[in-house]
């Protein structure tokens, strides 16, 4: 055959479908959850097993696309033989594990975690967490009225290992004014419950820009740029991948923040349409959130393998050209 034959004739279809090399499959693991036997693939987490049989397992810091950090502890379950409760999001199943998801200890811990968060963090834009709190019958009021908000940037100067002794009369919170230092993002850390998701998304789990990290220690822990620099002076590239994973609305798009402030944000009027970003050839799925024929927010589906919910600044924010219409 001539060496340019395939120039005119498409190459033949391969005899086998090209596939990823198969890794050897280990036998499934059987565990018992609340007395019910469930079998899951080896390497699954307890959370996977719970989901498989529809067991109610609240999660906050867990996210499908991020390494589990197991810090919120709301997903804890009781495992026979373990002195303490274990986080279901990260703990792998082991053969014959006996798991309780609704014991008094489990319910107590979940309730307390949710109550602790309610008593210290503004969850007003985290309806799912508030739902869980209701389900677990929390009573945050018993810690006293929330303390007044800190002044701007005050919390960012707290030094590890030193704190002012509280009176105990009021419950200390992370309340503080939002940080608005650019046109695209708002960081409202009064709503931050330190789930680490944004740090993971900005870091090795997705963006690898490392513009933010957890700083400080203990209750003075906070998400911060170096020296608490405003975002425009930081390494931030405005991909919005931190906002995408924020569970409480502490991080939000300026467009959404402004509309909420103005009282015009109305999710019941919004449609969500999946399309493909036009800014390069990678093929990122954009979910356009549209209210009254205007794009008000852009996300990407987490289950989309190309993006895993991540976008770049152009895909996330470069839509103004279709709506800068002077009527």
């Amino acid at each position: 055959m001539s060496d340019s034959s395939y120039w005119f004739q498409p190459p033949p279809r391969p005899s086998l479908i090209p596939m990823r090399p198969q890794t050897p499959i280990s036998p499934p693991v059987e565990v018992s959850i609340d007395g019910e036997k469930v079998s899951v693939p080896a390497g699954s987490t307890i959370l996977d097993a719970c989901k498989k049989i529809g067991r109610d397992t609240p999660t906050i810091c867990y996210h499908d696309t991020l390494e589990p950090v197991n810090v919120c502890r709301v997903c804890v379950v009781e495992v026979e033989g373990s002195r303490i409760l274990v986080p279901s999001c990260s703990r792998k199943v082991e053969p014959e594990m006996v798991i309780q998801t609704a014991s008094d200890r489990v319910r107590h811990s979940r309730k307390m975690v949710l109550e602790f968060l309610q008593s210290s963090v503004d969850l007003s834009t985290a309806p799912q967490i508030l739902d869980q709190a209701r389900r677990y019958q929390t009573n945050p009021a018993r810690y006293g009225d929330p303390s007044p908000p800190a002044i701007q940037n005050e919390r960012d100067h707290h030094h590890a290992g030193h704190h002012e002794i509280p009176s105990g009369e009021m419950a200390q919170t992370v309340a503080q004014p939002p940080k608005v230092d650019n046109n695209l993002y708002v960081r409202d850390y009064a709503k931050c419950l330190l789930c680490y998701k944004c740090v993971e998304a900005c870091g090795t789990d997705a963006q690898n820009t490392f513009a933010i990290a957890v700083a400080g220690r203990g209750f003075d822990g906070r998400i911060s740029t170096e020296y608490n620099k405003p975002l425009p002076d930081s390494a931030c590239v405005y991909c919005g991948n931190c906002i995408a994973v924020c569970p409480t609305g502490a991080l939000s798009f300026k467009s959404e923040f402004d509309m909420r402030q103005a009282g015009t944000w109305d999710e019941s009027l919004q449609t969500q349409t999946d399309t493909i970003c036009s800014y390069c050839g990678v093929g990122c799925t954009l979910t356009l959130h549209v209210q009254e024929n205007k794009i008000v927010k852009v996300t990407s589906p987490f289950e989309q393998e190309i993006t895993e919910g991540n976008l770049c600044i152009k895909g996330r924010f470069g839509y103004s050209h279709v709506q800068n219409i002077e009527e």
Binding site: S15, G283, V290, Q304, F317
Partner: protein, 538 residues
């Protein structure tokens, strides 16, 4: 390549490969989400080589950066090949089994010794050797490239030289090994797949092959001319010599995006009739006789696009287009009607179904299957086929399935415009993270990262010229001069300057660039022209 114009791998493979050569691509900024997959690969232990004159943000992730001179890519790739052959690291079994033309190729790379390559490209030979050995010895290896390879007057040779490397080592047709051009727009791939090439019908079916043409003739009830059309370069030549008199531009801004702007303007102005169909009145539109306002393809219309991993994906309408603007399809259908052909009411789905009835590689991709967010990769041969994750697996089949693939010896041909005392600095162009092409779309949003156009210079050049950051200087090439502020960046070395072309309304970089195009691909040598920098203040 090899009869299928698409990247051979899926993104997930780059996460699981061992060696990545990122060649002439600053994917960190131009394909950020693709770079996420590279980063996963890096975190999984892959070794990254970045071949780029600039030490870009992508190159700064690399284990090894090769800062070659602009336009010496073939020197580097041929030298790699020579070193691989000389060290016995090529894959003779694969070469024998699946390729032809090895001997001629081996002879052609013989002069490309490491010493020669070091002299020509500027890259130390130890580094070249290390890349050659690492690439050849890897279990899995992927080469990715972008416009640093293709925006040259010898773009096709550049690509071919990389293909040769894959054939030489057998890094093709396997999971985690292959060749991947990263496409610059969401449907560069799809456009070609759909036959928006001078010599191809949809599905890469060559127009000069009777059987293909017949199939389309039957379906469309017409007779297609059996000869290929013109590529962009040829069109410009035809416009210049008067044989092409009318031009219909859809969604392009050639006045600003073509190299040598002054020349492009002259040619476009010389047309008898220019139609521009775009969502904005672009600079090209300003020259047009007829402007057809179009809806934004990505959010105001329905259809499909195909990405760099050959994945056909659905585009959906989320917004009602502004008054007067119409979907591209609607405009084309209306045009047909006015020309006497009533095609009925346009429907993206029906058009797709027609396509898959004509293009075997798309045959299995039904519109229903596209409904899921994932999309499907071509070739997808039938309704139950999952789509091919990687291409050319056939080359490993025993006995071989189909014809062998050929090595194509290529020669080094440096950039057309040489440096000289009058124009001593090499200007190369590219993109930044937050802006896109000529800025038509991205100028609409306010990016905190945006700093406008600059002439990026090395600290050495800035010092030598006595210019300071922010100073407005005159940038002169043989074709014209523009003014631009200076930015000093450590990512450049002496003699190398960089500009984008995002801000053409203010600073017209393409006044400077050279309109030397590859006759085969039609792409211009945006990556290499010669300039000098003059101070405006004494």
């Amino acid at each position: 390549m090899f009869g299928a114009g698409g990247g051979t791998n899926s993104y997930e493979e780059i996460e699981n490969t061992n060696v990545i050569l990122l060649w002439g691509s600053n994917a960190r900024e131009t394909h950020p989400i693709f770079f996420h997959h590279i980063l996963k690969g890096i975190h999984n232990g892959a070794k990254l080589f970045a071949i780029d004159p600039r030490r870009t943000s992508s190159a700064r992730w690399a284990d090894s950066w090769l800062g070659l001179d602009v336009g010496t890519d073939i020197v580097v790739s041929n030298a790699m090949a020579r070193e691989i052959i000389a060290s016995g690291l090529h894959n003779p079994d694969f070469i024998r089994h699946a390729t032809q033309g090895f001997e001629a190729y081996a002879r052609s790379v013989e002069p490309f010794t490491l010493d020669f390559a070091e002299r020509e490209s500027g890259v130390p030979k130890e580094t070249l050797r290390e890349m050659a050995h690492t690439y050849a010895q890897a279990d899995r290896a992927i080469i990715c490239w972008t416009l640093g390879i293709t925006e040259h007057h010898n773009a096709v040779d550049n690509v071919q030289s990389l293909i040769n490397l894959a054939l030489l080592t057998g890094h093709i047709g396997k999971y985690g090994s292959g060749l991947n051009p990263l496409r610059g727009q969401n449907n560069v791939q799809g456009g070609g797949d759909m036959g928006a090439l001078p010599d191809r019908l949809p599905g890469f079916q060559h127009i000069e092959v009777d059987a293909f043409r017949e199939k389309f003739n039957r379906k469309w009830n017409t007779t297609l001319p059996p000869k290929k059309g013109l590529n962009l370069t040829e069109m410009f030549h035809a416009m210049e010599n008067g044989s092409l008199k009318a031009l219909y531009v859809i969604g392009e801004n050639p006045l600003q995006s073509e190299a040598d702007r002054k020349h492009a303007e002259k040619v476009l102005r010389g047309l008898d009739f220019l139609v521009v169909q775009d969502m904005f009145l672009t600079a090209t539109g300003e020259l047009a006789d007829v402007v057809l306002p179009a809806a934004a393809g990505w959010c105001e219309s329905e259809g499909t696009v195909t990405n760099s991993e050959r994945r056909v994906q659905r585009v959906r309408q989320a917004l009602v287009p502004p008054k007067g603007a119409k979907d591209d399809l609607e405009i084309l259908f209306e045009l047909a009607r006015r020309l006497g052909h009533d095609w009925g009411k346009p429907h993206a789905r029906e058009i797709w179904e027609e396509l898959r009835s004509l293009s075997p590689v798309h045959a299995g991709i039904s519109y229903e299957r596209l409904a899921s967010g994932k999309g499907i990769q071509w070739p997808c041969w039938d309704d139950s086929h999952p789509g091919e994750m990687f291409l050319h697996g056939r080359l490993w089949e025993k006995p071989r399935n189909g014809p062998p693939v050929a090595f194509t010896p290529v020669a080094h041909d440096p950039p057309v415009e040489r440096l000289c005392p009058e124009f001593p600095i090499r200007l190369t162009t590219g993109r930044r993270l937050d802006d896109y092409n000529t800025g038509v779309q991205t100028s609409g949003y306010s990016s905190p990262l945006r700093r406008g156009e600059t002439l990026d210079l090395s600290p050495e050049d800035a010092q030598k010229l006595g210019v300071f950051p922010g100073e407005i200087v005159l940038v002169v090439s043989r074709r014209g001069a523009i003014q631009a502020p200076v930015r000093v960046t450590e990512s450049l070395r002496q003699g190398l300057a960089f500009m984008t072309f995002h801000f053409q309304d203010n600073i017209n970089t393409n006044i400077l660039t050279i309109d030397e195009t590859d006759p085969r691909s039609g792409t211009a040598e945006f990556k290499a022209c010669a300039i000098r920098v003059e101070r405006l203040v004494a």
